[in-house]
Amino acid sequence: MLKQIISLLPDLGKAFWETFQMVGISLTLALLLGIPLGLLLFVTDKGLFWENKVFNAVGGVVVNIVRSVPYVILLVILLPLTQKIVKTTIGPLAASVSLSVAAIVFYARIAESSLREVDKGVIEAATAMGASIYQIITQVLLVEALPGLIRGFTVTAISLIGYSAMAGIVGGGGVGDLAIRYGYYRYQMDVMAATVAALIVLVQIVQSAGDYAAKKADKA
């Protein structure tokens, strides 16, 4: 068994690298686009400075639609788009397209709810001080919501590790894919167990790092 696992190591290493690529790309995009989208959903809501019923309603519905489509289906629907963007539908980079879309809307909702937690009185105090909307967003809203944003980021990262397993279906590779190919299709239960164990460790590490960062940021 040990021999088998050792012989598996190069494959496992490659699979981990692919998972890192997929999750890394989609998490980065979730940060870059998910936070602004969440912010827009928040500040266009009733009673806030860019109140806009139409944008808020349409944005909310679009986010909900994308979020309610099961990831496997989203992956298939987005194949044409994937072909256009990365010129292929196979490999971790291709899988990153649909993963990123899922990650952006997922994190946008989480960011929105973290922003909603920010004490309205604090926003009002900043307004009364003569802060501009940009100052309020960057120096009050995002700062006050930071612990929630970090916790939400951890949840998103862990969900994406799970999603990335499904990306194996389009040849995306990754750790989950390895577990399915060796363990499920070839009945090598020990290999499956080893990869699952590796995944558990990975998720634990991500969760602990996220908790630590959130705790550091949370002074309220």
């Binding site: 004490d119 604090v122 309220a220």
Partner: protein, 335 residues
């Protein structure tokens, strides 16, 4: 300093419009501490928030330092707001910033340099007595300390006006007194005009110069604080003052009283004359003081005494007549 000119604020709701503020006009002079009192829902908080346009009047104008604040564009409004400090009932501090950074925040907003901020924040901490809490976060502070940070933050940019929205309503008695004293000191030391709202008459009694009483969105009475307490005119004012100068006597005691019970109110300089003592020398009546209270408002006394009179009917009548002549008011409580 502030001039409310026929200000009305109407909120639209699903059912009927709510008239929160109705045709309010009055002025607050430079350097004074002006209070707006009234029960909750009277519209005082809404009125206060028009001064920095957190609430936009539906009609009417609000002049602050000679500028019609309702007519400013976005940029000028922000500049004007930087010169109007505000403190809140629930402090509204930024939880994720230290005391130091909370106080530095309005100065950063108004574009002051790092050097100036580094020099000014310790001064402000000194003024509010929190020098040792500079690195603390808001959750590590007591309510009174949080409000001190709020005050330091509000005066950081050297405002000419300080708005106080129920500043002590979430505080215990001890902290309330300390915060009011701090506001008073800041008013005297820096000449900052203070507009304060509260539902507690005790708050007003201790530091304010003039008072406007609000009820149902209207100002029903406006006077200097001593007159409000010593000679309230409107029913709402009388009620507020009565709650503050509480003179209740238990029913059990009232029922056992023999003879007349009179409530004597002293006011102004005559409050210091020994009227009761003179009356006792003049008429053969025994007196027993059941309840008494003297308040000093702006250094002037208001006294209320509940006195039980015993003696022959004629003597008691004369005694009461003498009191009526020599005190602000004397009324027989048990007819």
């Amino acid at each position: 300093m502030i001039k409310f000119d026929d200000v009305s604020i109407t909120f639209k709701t699903k059912h009927a419009p709510v008239y929160a503020v109705r045709n309010v006009s009055f002025s607050v002079e430079k350097g004074e501490i002006f209070a707006v009192v009234g029960a909750s829902g009277a519209g005082k908080s809404t009125l206060l928030r028009t001064v920095n346009l957190l609430e936009k009047p539906s009609s009417g104008k609000v002049n602050v330092d000679g500028v019609d604040i309702t007519a400013l564009d976005e940029h000028s409004l922000r500049k004007a707001r930087q010169k109007i400090g505000m403190i809140f009932q629930h402090y509204n501090l930024i939880h994720t910033k230290t005391v130091y950074d909370n106080i530095a925040f309005p100065m950063k907003i108004s574009g002051r340099g790092a050097d100036e901020i580094a020099k000014r924040v310790p001064e402000l901490l000194e003024i509010v007595g929190l020098t040792d809490k500079s690195r603390a976060f808001p959750r590590q502070l007591s309510g009174g300390q949080k409000q001190r940070v709020g005050i330091a933050r509000a005066i950081a940019n050297g405002p000419s006006l300080l708005l106080c929205d129920e500043p002590t309503s979430a505080l215990d008695l001890e902290s309330t007194r300390a915060i009011l004293e701090l506001i008073h000191n800041i008013n005297k030391k820096f000449g900052i005009t203070v507009l304060l709202i509260s539902h507690e008459m005790d708050v007003i009694k201790s530091i304010c110069n003039r008072v406007a009483v609000m009820s149902n969105g209207k100002t029903v009475e406006l006077n200097d604080v001593y007159s409000i307490f010593s000679n309230p005119q409107h029913e709402i004012t009388k009620q507020l003052v009565r709650n503050s100068l509480n003179m209740e006597i238990p029913d059990g005691v009232l029922g056992n009283i023999e003879g007349k019970l009179v409530k004597v109110v002293y006011r102004g300089p005559s409050a210091l004359n020994p009227v009761l003592s003179n009356a006792v020398h003049k008429y053969p009546v025994d007196i027993n003081i059941l309840h008494g209270r003297i308040e000093y408002i702006n250094g002037l006394p208001i006294g209320v005494l509940l006195v039980n009179l015993k003696g022959n009917a004629e003597g008691v009548e004369k005694f009461i007549a003498y009191l009526r002549e020599n005190t602000a008011s004397t009324e027989v409580v048990n007819a």
